[in-house]
């Protein structure tokens, strides 16, 4: 089953890839890899998760925020690769930034909202290296920002 089919099976669909909020690209393609810019949990142009964890946004909500960031990153991947989402051979790395208050240390569980989606969609090929940290502030007040690097097949899968 392809990642696109898995996505449908999970009742999910790729959003319209969000436009960068500034002077840069959603992603660049380099030597068989795609480097996706930091994605925040936008849905149809609206920021869905805003504020820091845990007092403004709960850990459970932040997991959903991370999942939405991941979906947005995959929407970008799908839009920039000639072979689309299903030409991804391996998710290589996620960089996960969680807007956190001092003393909150549950970033790994939140980042799992993204990591588990990758595994659900791509299986072994979705398992990746990751760095997850807590930061004081993110663009537009987003709860989570995620950047992604993946390898793809130039000829489709």
């Amino acid at each position: 089953m392809t990642p696109s089919h898995k996505l449908s099976e999970l009742g999910l669909s790729l959003p319209t890839p969000p436009n960068p909020v500034a002077a840069y690209l959603p992603a660049v393609v380099h030597e068989g890899t795609v480097i996706v810019s930091g994605q925040i949990p936008m849905v149809e142009g609206n920021l869905q998760f805003k504020g820091s964890v845990p007092s403004e946004v709960s850990e459970a909500e932040a997991v959903n925020a991370a999942r939405q960031c991941a979906l947005n990153a995959l929407a970008v991947v799908d839009s920039v690769l000639p072979g689309g989402l299903d030409s991804v051979e391996q998710i290589l790395r996620l960089g996960v930034f969680v807007q956190s208050e001092a003393g909150f240390h549950g970033q790994p569980a939140i980042a799992n909202g993204a990591s588990e989606l990758m595994q659900d969609l791509f299986g072994e090929a979705g398992r990746h290296a990751r760095a997850a940290v807590g930061v004081i502030a993110l663009p537009l007040g987003a709860t989570v920002e995620i950047e992604l690097m993946a390898r793809f097949s130039p000829t489709g899968r």
Copy 2:
């Protein structure tokens, strides 16, 4: 027009590439890419922008700080590549860290100080993937730190 010419046309010049403030290299070259260490807004050995945004440094000043970080990164690129700045084929990624207070979410506009310089100098080849986040503290108290990855032509452009 080459990026070097563009730089002159904009009335800018590359600074002396700053020395790393510790035990690492200004950049490493790997398989046709150059990975530049995090640059802070040093000018001739002095840190020009120090403090967090917005109470210690205004958003407008921080844009200039980001631009200076970008110039320093390009100075490093110019110094480590045999073909210099003009052998850059594509700016691939900027990692932008803005020393931010809680509640400040204007990191994208600040990072644009760097991103727009890249576009001004390199045109389409200057458009890149980016992650911009707000952090509580940066080396020496710098307002902004920027790391860069670019692809270059081994034979010059």
Copy 3:
């Protein structure tokens, strides 16, 4: 002398590579590079350095925390590469996150705990690009988190 020999000479040994604290891999291998996930200062399953610098953990202790993160990253490298640690050709990049309080700006000295170990073990091949920043919070309350990218020889060194 190989990096493994150097390690013994320094009276050090590689720890058991820590398991990821969540749904991701310790490292991925891609086109002759290994990308290691963010490592925290775990020793045999216990987090050795917890809290922010400087009030909860001193700068000197944080240097040791960074060194432990680096050892853990090398343990992962050793475990995932067919040729082990000694097949590393070049350390390419360290990403260093220090759990910092506002106003603390000694991240470079702390990151040197990792950078200098690389240089001690690998010599010139251990010198790398680096970004070091201060963050408000890290997984499990770790004082430092470090991710690493290195190039290796597929045939061993």
